[in-house]
Amino acid sequence: MSNPVFPAQPRHPGSEASGGNLPVGEEPSQPSGEQVGQRLLLPSPTPDEAKLLAAAQSGDHLAFARIYSQHKRRIYSLCLRMVGNVAEAEDLTQEAFLQLHRKIATFRGDSAFSTWLHRLAINVVLMHLRKKNLSLVSLDEAMEPSPDEGPGRSFGAADLNLAGSIDRLALEHAVADLPAGYRLIFILHDIEGYEHNEIASMLDCSIGNSKSQLHKARLKLRDALCAYPRQEERR
């Protein structure tokens, strides 16, 4: 019997979240790795992918345009979810792809290309948040929010019974209010459907750290949702 809500293999980005209607030139992504023990086996890119990447690395502008087309939705959506503002998300997406253009020749295939690109985009977003003087200095600090930012302890908390009563808007606000590190993990895992091993690779942290941060994020969201008036109370 599987666990449908906390699956061992979360649904993958580009499947349900995209509604299955990908535009021409955009392909659903494939899992970027298979974990065996603590070792990550990287999938080999298809010959077409490898050819496209090699062409872009050698300066082929059309190849780079195709790579943009394949990855733009995921990168833009990540930026939008992290900053919650369309104009900022567009700027960050542009910056991420400009950085990709500058650095693509340095990609050596040590990780899946999509993971590498996501990490690049995450760093662009985190740098942006740092410039905005949000409580964030580096990816490491994003992964280790200060103790006072942690979720409340749950031992002995009352039955909050959120099932069936979660207000979408309340959840969106609660996610937006999460410290950046928690928000990042929650978005990557629960919203975008990445697996912990992929997140660990993207954020250069341990799988255990990813699981722990996700759990803290959910606890913090639970705290926030409980403080949010229920629908019937707002009427």
Binding site: A17, D159, G208
Partner: protein
Amino acid sequence: MIDCPETLSCEQFQSQLPELIGSGAVLAEHAHLRHCELCKALLADLEAIAEAARQLLPIVDPPEELWEQIESAIKGERESSDKT
């Protein structure tokens, strides 16, 4: 801390939750949850949040003109590097 039946306290069980949830184990069958309504409710809340998250913020395309802006910026960078 509340004492719960079975061998684990709530604190101990909850400290194991990140790993248990991440493993994909069927938690409803966990010995602690058979007798602890408190932790069962906590888990139900966390499941509800994870489930609700799937409906949040759908993946969207950036505006078409964004590529034109990127192309233009790439061109600008190329021209300025050619000059130097």
